[in-house]
Every structure is written in C-alpha cells, then in structure tokens.
Symmetry: D2
C-alpha cells in the first residue's frame, strides 16, 4: 500500500476536484482526504489531497508522469507529490536559548514530529550537551562579521550533504542572509518573539513593555529577504498586565515561542502550509 | 445560477469523493468546496460539498432524483440537499434573560445569520419590548405544571404554521419535553451555562464556585431527551479567580453564553454541523 | 455607612501603605481592599484602596481635608476620592454600527455597569430607535468639515450640562479633536478594531487580511491627541485562518470589539484604571 | 537588607491591614507589596505581604516572636513567614512521560523557578538519562502492590533527609497514598490531564473523545486523599475538533500539561497559593 499527499495550486477553474479525484480512481487509488481553498480575490485554487494505492503494481514515478501530463499540464498546476511514509530532513539552527530546542527534541523523541533531524548547527557551544543527550550530531560554526561568508558556506555544505528539506531557526540569533534563503525558499522557519507585524526587529518584549500592551504574542513565519516580513505560519498570544516587568514578558514569551514554533514545524512537516502572495494557506 | 450544499454520510468506502464530484461535473456543475471527515473508529464517511450549476436548464428536483438513484443508493448514503439561497426558518424561545436575545437579533439585523426568524415564543412577557423593537412577532405562552401540555401544543402549532426548521433556546428556562424533541430531532439548539460535562443541571455557576475552578465555560448543544447530554456543537471558556463571586461568574458567563450560542446558530444555519453517535462533526 | 475608594500615586517611598491605612483606622474606618503597584523603572507607587466608615458622624469633606493635609501633602501624592455609591455619568457617542451600543445598553439594563447614561450623541440617525427602546435621550449632531467646530461646541455643552464624567466612543466614526480631548483627558474611551500597535489607522481588518495574520485583535484605549496611540486599557484576540475573507474578519472582530469595550468601560467606571506615562495600571 | 513574605489568614475584622503594616513600620520595615482577599461567604481574610528591612540589626527570629505576640495572637491569625532569598526544596516524582520533566528542568536551568531540586524519584528507569543530563540525583524506586509500603518508606526517608518542602508529581503514574499525603498536606502538586471536575479518574482523553467535547483542558491541584478532588491551583484549555483522534488529544494535552504544571509550581514556590475550604486563593 502506498500513501501519497498531493499539493496543488492553480488558477481556479471548473472541474479540478472531479478531474483529480477521478484520475486517482482510474489509477486504482482512493482519495481519503481533501482540503481545499479558493482565494476569491486572486482567483487561485489550492488543494491538499491524501490518497491510497493498494495495488502491488503501483509505481510512484509512473503515476507522477501520468499526472503531470493528463492533469497538471492541462490545468497549468503547480504541484508537489509526497510519499506519506517519507520523513523530511529538518536541520536545526540554535544559539544560546534552549527552550525551543528542548521542546522540539522532546516531541521528536515522542514521535510527534514526522521528520528526521540529521544535525544541529549553532554559533555557540552552550547547547552542545543537549544535542549529545538526544544523540544528534552538533556542529559548532561560530559567526563573526569576518567569518560570516565562510560560515554560510560551511552551513550550506552540511545542508546539502544531509539532503536537508527544511531549516528551523530555534531562536538562532544571527540573521540568515540571501545566500541561504535563496537555496531554501519558503523552507526556513523562524520564530519571532512578537505578534507580527507589531514590534518587528530586535527587542520586541522591550517595545511591548514600553507601549503598555495587555497581550503579547509570538509569530512563526517563513524567512524571506525582508526581515520579519515573511509569510506567517502560526501565531499565539498571552495576557500580561502592568505588573509584569520586561523580564516577566520574556519568560512568558518563552512558553509561547516553543509551542508556536513546534506547531509551525508540524504543519510544515505534514505539508499543510502553502505559500502564496507572501501569505500562507494552512490546512489544519 | 444555482448554488447547492450537499451533506452526505455513509459507510466509508472507495471512490466516494470521485463519484460525487464526477456526477456533479457530468451534470454541468462545479464543485467549489469540500469538507470531509472519516470517523476511523466507526468507519463512517462525512462530506459537506458546495457546488454551482450555471446552466439555465438546471432543475434541482431532477438533480435530486438522479443523485438519489445513481449515487446515494449504491453507496447507501444518508444525504440532504440545501439550496444556498434558501434561508432556514428559526424560532426563538426565551424567558427573562435578554443577553442572548439581543446578541442574536443584533446579528440578524446585521445580516450575519442566514436565517429568517418568524417569531419569538416566551413563557414571560419581560422581553416583549425587544421583539417589538426588532419588529418580530412575540407570542407569550405561559407554562405551569398544569398548562405545560397545552402550551406545548400551542408551540407545536406555531412551529408548524411557520414551517420552522430549527429552534433556538436562548436561555429559555423551561425543560423542553419529548413531545417537541421528537418533532425536531437534532434541531433544537440549547445553551448550557457550564463547560459540559462538568456541572450538568441547574445552578452550574454556583457549583463551579464551590469547586473552586479557575476557568468557567459554556456549551451549546442539541437537545436530546437526556438532560444536558446532547451532542455538543460549540464550547468556550474564560478565566476566573478566587476573587470572583457567584454573581461575577454569572456576569462573565453571560459574555460566553451569547457568543457561543450565536456561533452554534451560525454553524447550524450554514448546514455545517452533522450529528452522529451523539457527537457532532462541525466543519468550520 | 460610607464606602470610599481612594486612588493614589506618588514617588515610591517608605511607609506609604502603613500611613494611609493607619490614618483610615484613626478616623474609625476600616481598609477592606488594597491593590497596589510599584513601577520600579520610574519609581512610582500606585494604590487603589477601598475603605468603610461606619460612624454616623463621618463626613467625607472633613476626611478629605484631613487626608490632604496629613497624608497627601507630606507624601506629595496625586489622589482622588470616590464615594462607592456614586455612579459616574457616562456619555455615549455612536455612529452607524450597533453591536457595541447594544452590548453596553444590555449590560446597563442588567445593572452590570456602575454608571448613569444621561444621553447618546450620534452623527447619524440610524441608531435612534435603539436609544428610544432603552429610554435614553438621543441627540443627532451631524458632523461635516464645515460644521465640525459647531458640532463640538454643541457636544461640549451637552457634556457640561449633564456633568458627564467620561465619554465612550462606541464605534463613533469621527476623529475627536483636541477641543474635547483637553476637556476630558484620559476620560474618553475608544475601541480600535485592531491589536494595537499593529494596524493603526483606518481599515485595520483589510490590513490584517493583507498581512496574512493568524490572529486578529481589538484594543480599547484612552484617546489622546496622537491617533490610536493612547494608553491601552484592554485588548483581546481571536484566531482566524486563510479561509476568512475581510468580511469574515469584520464579523469576528465585532464580537471582540463589544466585549473588550465593555470590559474597559467597567474598569474605568470602577476606578480601576490609572494612567501614567501613556500606559495604564489596571487593577482587576 | 532582609526581604520577607508574610502569609496571613484569619477571621475578617477591622484594622488588620493597618495593624500589620504599622507593625512592620515600627520595626523599621517597609511594606512593598500587598495582595489580599476577603471570602465574604466564609468571612475569612487572606493577605500576602512583602516587606523589606534595611537595618543591619534586624533579626528574623526576634521579628517572628514579636509578630506572634503583638499581631498574630490578638487577631487569631494562621500565618507563615518566608525569607525571600530562601529557595524551597522541591522533589520531583516521574514515571515514563518526559514532557513535564523537560519543561520543569528547562525552567529550572533558566533560573525561572525559585526552588532547589535535590532529587528525582521514579518508579521506572526511562527518564534517568534526563536527570543525568541536568545533573540531578535520580532514585529508581519501583512500586508494585507488594512493595508499595516499602517504597513509600524509602520515599519518605529521602524526602526527610533532603528537607523537602513540597513534591511535584510530573505525570507520576502511581496513586500517592495517605501515608505521604498526611506528611505533606497541601504540599503535593499533581497535574491531572482533564479540565476538572470533568473526566476524573483514568483515561480522561478517551472520555473527552467519547463525549465529543470541543475543548479539552488540564488541571494542576494539590493532592488530597480523595482522588482528583483536591484544591485547584491552575487550569487551562485548548480547542479540539471532531477531526482529532484520542492520540491527537493526548498530544495536544501534553502541551497544556507541561505549561499548567509549571505555572502551578511557580505559584507555590513564590508562596502565592493559599488553601482554604478545599479551594485556593491564588495571588498572581
């Protein structure tokens, strides 16, 4: 039995759902789950479809070729096909904060994340012991102004070597540059410690404190070249009061950051987040 | 152009989605939106499907007949078909509390609810002025032990006369009996002022206060013959502290009750809530 | 028996709490509730204190005079004294949206708000029938570029005549100018339909939609001369998804707006919100 | 400089706040923070008070003796005094689930919890590697029907040896019996994986799934001899839908459990939770 997830988007038009599900049926498959969305403003159709093929003679490459020709081409679709049992390779970038790292690795160990983590990269050594405790290779790649370019090359090499599918910046305290962003478009997930678009940039908890907000938030988004402006995957908020100091906001924020980042990682790993027009369509 | 919403449930089996969407396509229709769910434990398939027929020659009764024969029968489906422009007739039952009534009527006036409200029934006269302000007929039907049976007959007559599709108990302080429940199975929506199944029965805020909970809730559910045990449509919660008296809980609860009841009404009116096995499948 | 609420703020220093509570005791009063806060950054002390005087001979003016001399002066306090049974006079400004108005008037009728509403002012006639249904005088004061100054004079006259203590802008669609703001500093409560400081200005739901946020919010704040930048009293948020249109965001937002504005009104009416440094200290 | 936290409760009566703060002032101390609550139904007064003594000659035992005689005795107070710099000794009991353990230890390392953790006890060996990674002694004390009594004696001995102040059951999968409960009354914190009082007992997520609730919750409470019926310290909830399986509920629940338990631990460690009448007064 082969399980497949299909991701499709194209101009909205008549007969897409019927054509796709019918094509699957003709190939002795069964469509088990559909999520779809039409962006009425942009006239774009999105679909995420799970299907099952039970025939022993089913071959994914043959199916892909036929799908491309008979369905994707006539409808001018952008599409991806993922075998459900294949786990994505996810690289972790960290610095000194450990809360997001512990949260992700705890879930990883509990089998909650459908990924493989080939390594952790850090510009500091502080969290090496955690990597060791979880038996994951740890690469210490320091970054200074002068070494940034070389460090990036080293990072890229590791990413390629391990066939990394996507990158998670788990409070990585360096700005990732276009060198890497262009290699991994909409495949780098960041956690920003504010309710974007409020408080972009550094020190968002300080800014929130200054403004006297009654709720703080956190945002997980794909990294684009414009800082903190990429497509938002997931957000959450928590109440605060006048009695909370900046230090309290930071502590409360940590609870949000780890949960929100892990939710975003899960969504991406399950191929549930589409990017379009600097926004996401997230099927939950 | 005719817009239709189809609700289907049946045993889960191969080819349902493809067959249904294909049938629609063959009838010159376009499937614009699908929500579906498989209850893996019970092996039941649920689908809510929106489709559009643009041909001037399209006739709903013909379509219904063909669908019944070619699709529903072979798959042994339970199904309903609703024309999207048809508004359901919704009766309101109230007593003395006005917060849910104002909330529903406010949304009704704002065009937020896809319903027609033919009348309001109350066992008290207190809220008659509100009905008048919103120009909705108000029937005062007092209920005592002795008059309960007669009152129910009067209610049933009004419900039938106005072809009421579903009933909303907007803090109606009488127990609706099987006489009416059996005529409107899964079509009577109640708001219970606790986070069910905690605190069933009367005085839930008092019980919550006694137990010292830190969060209170409210629950909108379909009315079944077992009190407060019907399928849950929607719930919500809010934080409380030791400093809140029972009176405070009641006031905070009012805010939840009106929002949660209105959400349930909306879901029902849009045919987004299926009942199965004393639970709901709610497509949002 | 006389119940009093004292609001105090001053430079933080030793002995404030003891001195105040002792002074009350010496005047045969009993301190029944204290909330306080120290802004460690600014070294400012805030206190809200409720006390009860049971003696028949107790006179508020005498107490005020003595308190001013013996306590407030030596500690250089800013202070206010409110008799708990005195209701504030609250003016309502509205335009065309009725959801906040219904919510406030519903609570007003239920005795939930400790205020008196002498009148409603609107630049449109749309909501006059609601004022009538709740038996509250309604003044239609249209505002155009040319008549703005005259309208403000008319508004000010009504506010003075009815000894209005504070003003609530319940989705009043005109910018209140400094003419009125200066007369009612930190006494005009607005509801802004975004999670400030995100999306200041007009059309915040459109801006939120464009940015693709996964949560929208609303903010109640005191009006200052800088638009949407006044001290925040209360905020709340709600989840949205890619499937929500701008119209959906507006509908969801209405639910937040009415609840959040009413909470802010309650806090202000109970003298629980201090303004300092363009932020609020809110005792809940 | 000595910082002290005083916890007081007694029958509500006149002059308590003034007497206490005045007594502190007379002892050259300054009251820096007060939280209080009156349970009007039971006529009980609760206060948590922080104060600072700057004099080099200040001695805590002398202060305690004087306070007992001059304040506590006349008012018939129950009271406790804690030096703010003293950390409580907190024992951790775990079994096989690691999410709560990681969350607590992560915060412990980040300096977020004002406690010292002398050891971790477990009836299984699964989590020993985590204890080792965090450098905390780990005692494996297996529990079977036959060895339960002996195991408890071993536990009690460790608790006494390390002068443990309170115990945290971080998903410890054994019922703690009266032998230990009586030694640590209102000092054993449990996390129950349901929104109590709904779904007491084992398998709450299964029960929640069966009932078809739309929100699940979790509850941290003090352990009393009646199972899952002790005073509630903290609760939180999260939305679920029909699409979530029991396994999904368990995964979502884990996120709540760890956050809620850690919040309860913090509150207890800061002496912010009073127990009275099987309820808590929690000052936040």
């Amino acid at each position: 039995m082969v399980k497949i997830t299909l991701l499709i988007h194209c101009e909205d038009q008549k007969g897409i759902i019927a054509s796709v599900t019918n094509f699957i049926l003709q190939n002795s498959g069964n469509t088990t789950y559909i999520d779809q969305h039409v962006d009425a403003q942009e006239n774009v159709f999105f679909m995420r479809l799970e299907c099952v093929f039970e025939s022993a003679s089913f071959r994914v490459p043959d199916f892909e070729q036929a799908f491309a020709k008979k369905i994707a081409q006539p409808f001018e679709m952008q599409w991806q096909l993922h075998r459900s049992e294949t786990k994505s390779n996810m690289a972790l970038f960290v610095s000194k904060y450990d809360h997001c790292l512990y949260d992700i690795l705890g879930r990883y160990n509990a089998g909650e994340l459908h990924v493989h983590i080939p390594f952790i990269i850090s510009n500091h050594k502080d969290l090496e012991h955690i990597a060791k405790n979880f038996d994951i290779p740890f690469y210490h790649i320091p970054v200074t102004k002068d070494t940034k370019a070389a460090a990036e090359q080293q990072q890229l090499q590791l990413l390629e070597e391990h066939k990394v599918d996507f990158i998670v910046l788990a409070r990585y305290m360096q700005i990732v540059t276009e060198t890497i962003i262009r290699e991994y478009p909409n495949k780098i997930i960041n956690i920003h410690h504010s309710f974007l678009p409020a408080f972009v940039g550094a020190k968002p908890y300080h800014a929130a404190f200054e403004r006297g907000v009654k709720i703080i938030g956190t945002t997980s988004h794909y990294v684009t070249e414009e800082l903190d402006a990429g497509p938002i995957i997931e957000q959450d908020t928590i109440r605060v009061t006048h009695s909370h100091t900046v230090k309290d906001l930071i502590a409360k924020g940590r609870d949000l950051e780890k949960i929100v980042l892990s939710r975003a990682v899960k969504l991406h790993a399950q191929h549930k987040a589409f990017v379009y027009n600097n926004k996401t369509v997230v099927f939950t």
